[in-house]
Amino acid sequence: MGFVDSKTAAQVERQLATDLAGNEKLSNFGTFSAEHKLEDERALGIMEWEQKEYDGVGSITSHLDPEAGISTSAIETYESEIAGDASVAIDEGAVETEISGYALAALRVSKLVDAGAPLVAPTLLLGELVYLDITTGSNPLTHDVLKLFGSDDEPESHETTGLEGTGIKREKWVWVPGCSGKTVTQCVTYWRSEAGESRKVYLEWPQWYNGSWRIEASPPAPAAGAYFLAAETTETSNTFYTAAAAYSGGGAYGSHEQACDEQAAGWEPVEPGGGLIGWPMVVPHSTTIAASSEYFEHACLFHRSEPSEWREGHISREAQSITRSEEQMAVGLTRSHTPPEGARGIEGTPYESAGALREGVEALATHLEGEEPGHLGEMFDHATEGNEGKSTLPGAHTIPSCSGKTGTECDELMKADGFKHITLATLTWAEDTMELREERVTALSKAPGTLVDLDAAITITQNPSARTVAKKLEERPGPKSKPEPSKEEYDVIAERCLYLAAKGGVTESECANEPIFVSGNNTPETTKEDEKALEREPDWVGLHFVSKAEQMVTEGWYKSYEPCNVAAPEGKACHEFPFYTTEEAGWPKAGAKPAIEYVKTTDNSSQGGLLGAFQTNCSLSRGQKYLYAPQTATPSYYIC
């Protein structure tokens, strides 16, 4: 807000007094008396000042208004309250929605109006500016707030035209009768029991924009089922969305006027350098909304609607409250809520997917958790760090989906989009994501679909490459009875071998040089059983051949153990792994118990047949080590 910029607290007070004295527009509102206006606006001015304080300007104690009775200790008290989980439950028809975090929004008001009285979870219900700013203190401003927005004597609701000249127009105020002297909890309880229509606190989008200044390019209303605390209150939703965007979007930050000048020549800025306050709309940081050009355009249109009023500082208390409190509300919501599964953001924005929205929300919430209480504004500074004052909005681009792509392909894709700082990280084989092929992207440090500054550091994580080993496998003999694997199948075999080798303490070079037996998808039951066994005992990737004649373990040892100690179901045979023709076979003996399970007879026989071929045709000698790499992505095979 321009009129508090570069002013001392005393100057602000004088300015406020002058403005209020000559401002007929404000006097049109309700029962708001001049005297009360003075106190109210004074507090507001200081509140703004404090806002600047949070941005690192000046010292908070030096600007406190003695008349407001605020002490540093009081503020600290309040701020500790912020860290708590103030919450209030509001019925929304049949849906019980718990809304947490409103205390943060209310704080900005409370600490100005309450001179140290206990904070009793003050809350601010956005959308209708119903201040449930109930304290047990006797601060007159507290009373005024109540008087302004609801008192025991006022009707439960009435129509109003809002404040002329501010661009703020409301169709309906909800009054909160009977709350004087009550705590928030008491008030809400009363309100709900008496009024029974607490949903009235929410504005619906069309209502917000009814009036002569209807925005032509308004953002789309939330689609049915869209996640946001109050789906009816689009302004809140958008703020919420914005808050998420502010962080995850990497801070496409410039200044209001710069950005809006790009939208429409002739518009004059009122807030050089951008900032956190002063926008008479639900978007606290329009610059962050640059991520959503549609919304940004809306912001500029809104702004242009009443430029003179802004320049002169004739901004209604309500307008500022909306701006500020909704910003805070967004944070509060973000802190307290994460989108549920299947939630969607606003259609037509980069955050319309639940995943993208959640990413932003979670990032913001994580950030907030690490913040000192009360440093709300810093959140946005953090998000926009390094971009302040830029004459043009820095570039940003949506993170592409690299699903199924190699790291190199993804890197190229991102570079084509303009991202400048990309790091390609390769997992070790022990870390390999076996569900994905070699060199495929396994993770991105920024979620696909989110809007990210082109200067942001992005890490692409990919699976390691098995090609070198695969090429060696291609040169080695395999079974005559099986078609030779394709290049891709060799890659799969090499990947699997390298992965299991890493898990089982076998060197990579052994995959390149030792015989490998591959049980594949033509004997799925045995292969899967063996895969499970290898998960349990990774060392079994390395097996040692012993012929049946030389095997000391009694054949059929497994008949004494479950589940093979009962007659086999028809068509099933007991499969044992490690194989009977290995030194690792049999039980009881040292080491882990082999895996035994009834499997399809033909699977068992077929796997055994190929194992026999492998042992015979690769001329395995007694005790010779070979590697076993079961996987169901290729047919069975062996490599001598």
Partner: protein, 199 residues
């Protein structure tokens, strides 16, 4: 290896008496297969049963379905009925054919004259060769070890049954009624039987 003994009805009866005395058998025995039935069932395989094979499946259809507990000796997952034997042979032939190109030196993985009479992870087979009246060699097929595939573990089915009877008589196999399982003592068994591969 011991002298070759041809399987006879008397030998099978003697074996059954031992099993019944031990309490292994239940009362409801599978019906035997007539020669006509046997020919009908085995026709798809294109083989002619040996006399030993006919006697075996003529004895309660060769099935261990009426035995308590796990079956005796190397029968693995059980003695097969003739119908199951034909089905198993078909399956194993299919598997063996996968490896036709691989077995130049070892010969066929599963000779077409071999018919499973006991089911293991693979099978114990009786060889129904060219001469139906000749002894039918027994093999313990294990595809995972081709060197042993063609190895004869008993010169005839009659010889094998003789070893089983001896094992029971000598305490090599003792039926534990309480546990409903056989207790084996290799020291009291014919060494040839031990080599066959018991469980």
């Amino acid at each position: 290896m011991s002298d070759t003994v041809l399987l006879t009805s008397e030998l099978l009866g003697s074996y059954e008496t031992r099993l019944r005395s031990a309490g292994v058998l239940v009362d409801e025995a599978p019906a035997p297969r007539s020669r006509t039935d046997q020919d009908e069932i085995t026709r798809p395989l294109g083989l002619v049963l040996s006399e030993e094979a006919r006697l075996w499946w003529g004895w309660h259809d060769g099935s261990s379905g009426w035995w308590r507990g796990n079956c005796l000796g190397f029968c693995g997952d059980g003695f097969t009925s003739l119908e199951r034997a034909v089905k198993l042979a078909t399956e194993l032939r299919g598997v063996a054919e996968e490896f036709t190109e691989e077995v130049d030196e070892a010969g066929e993985l599963l000779d077409r004259a071999w018919l499973p009479f006991a089911e293991t992870r693979y099978a114990i087979t009786i060889d129904c060769g060219d001469d139906p009246g000749a002894p039918s060699p027994v093999r313990n097929i294990a595809f995972e070890d081709w060197s042993s595939v063609r190895q004869v573990v008993a010169p005839s089915l009659g010889t094998l049954v003789t070893w089983w009877c001896e094992a029971i008589d000598n305490g090599g196999w003792v039926w534990d009624t309480a546990a409903s399982e056989w207790v084996t003592d290799k020291e009291r068994m014919n060494p040839e039987l031990v080599k066959v591969g018991t469980w």
